[in-house]
C-alpha cells in the first residue's frame, strides 16, 4: 500500500463520514429547509471528497479525469437543485418550523 493509496483512503473515509452526517441531519432536523441545508452541504462535500479520493487512488487516467469532471458537475448542480427545491417548497406554501424566528419571504414579480 503506497502513500497515495493511504491519502486517497483517508479522503474517501472523510467523504463517507460527511455523507452519513448529512443523512442523519436530514432525518433529525425539523422542517424542509433545515433538512435541505444539512443534506445539501454535507452530501455535496461528501460526494466531492469521494470523487477526489477516487481521482487520487485510481491507476487509469480516464477514471481520474472523469472523477474530476463529475466532482465539478456535482459542485455546480447540487446547490442549484437545493435552491430550486427550497423556492418551490416556500412558494407552494410549506410553513417554516413553528420555532422559527423570522419569515421575510416575498415572492418575486
Amino acid at each position: 500500500m503506497t502513500m497515495t493509496d493511504q491519502v486517497g483512503l483517508v479522503i474517501i473515509a472523510t467523504g463517507v463520514l460527511f455523507d452519513l452526517l448529512g443523512c442523519i441531519g436530514m432525518v433529525r432536523l425539523p422542517d424542509v429547509y433545515n433538512r435541505l441545508q444539512a443534506g445539501t452541504k454535507c452530501v455535496t462535500l461528501g460526494v466531492c471528497l469521494i470523487l477526489t479520493g477516487t481521482a487520487v487512488m485510481a491507476d487509469a487516467t480516464p477514471i481520474r479525469l472523469k472523477a474530476v469532471l463529475c466532482a465539478l458537475f456535482v459542485l455546480i448542480t447540487s446547490p442549484t437543485a437545493a435552491h430550486a427545491l427550497a423556492r418551490a417548497a416556500r412558494v407552494s406554501g410549506i410553513r417554516l418550523w413553528e420555532k422559527s424566528v423570522a419569515d421575510q419571504f416575498a415572492r418575486s414579480k
Partner: protein, 160 residues
C-alpha cells in the same frame, strides 16, 4: 395572485446554471452515441442524455426558450429522419451485401478499438440516437402541459 405560466422559466440561478451546463450535457450525449460500439451505451442511452439537455432547457428556461432552441416541428422532423436513416442503412445492407442489416462496410480488423473500426454500427447508432432524442423531447413537451403553445402555422394570436 400572479399565476406563472408554463412558458416562463424558473428562478434566475437555475436559468443561469442551466445555461452553463446544457451544452456540455448535449455533447456528452453525442459522445455516448458515437462511442457506443467501444464503451457501454449507444444510440438509446446517448439519445436519452441528449434529450435530457433539451428537457433541462424546457424546465429551466421555459417553453418559449425551448421552442426557440429546438422547435417541435424540428423535433418531429428529426424523429422521422432518424428512423428513415436507420431503415436506409438496413436496406443498403440488403442491396450491397445481400442481407437485411448486413454490415457492408468492413474495416481492417487490425484497427480495432478506434472510432471507425466497426463499419456501419456507429451510423446506425446515430440514427437511433436522433430518433430517441427527438421522441423523448416531444414526450416531455406533451407531458409538461404546454399544449396551449401552438405551432406557427396554426396560431392565430399571441401564443400563450
Amino acid at each position: 395572485m400572479n399565476v406563472p405560466r408554463p412558458s416562463e422559466g424558473m428562478s434566475l440561478i437555475v436559468r443561469t446554471v442551466c445555461g452553463w451546463v446544457k451544452g456540455f450535457i448535449l455533447l456528452y450525449g453525442i459522445y455516448i452515441i458515437l462511442y457506443g460500439h467501444l464503451t457501454p451505451g449507444g444510440g438509446f442511452s446517448g439519445g436519452v442524455i441528449a434529450a435530457a439537455a433539451f428537457v433541462l432547457i424546457l424546465l429551466a428556461e421555459g417553453a418559449r426558450s425551448a421552442e426557440a432552441t429546438f422547435s417541435r416541428q424540428a423535433a418531429a422532423s428529426g424523429d422521422c429522419l432518424g428512423v428513415l436513416a436507420f431503415l436506409a442503412l438496413a436496406l443498403l445492407g440488403l442491396l450491397l451485401a445481400g442481407t437485411f442489416f448486413a454490415n457492408f462496410w468492413t474495416t481492417d480488423p487490425a484497427a480495432r478499438f478506434t472510432l471507425l473500426s466497426s463499419g456501419m454500427i456507429p451510423f446506425c447508432n446515430m440514427g437511433i440516437g436522433l430518433k430517441v432524442c427527438c421522441s423523448l423531447y416531444l414526450v416531455a413537451v406533451v407531458l409538461s402541459g404546454i399544449r396551449q403553445l401552438r405551432f406557427p402555422q396554426d396560431t392565430k394570436g399571441e401564443p400563450r
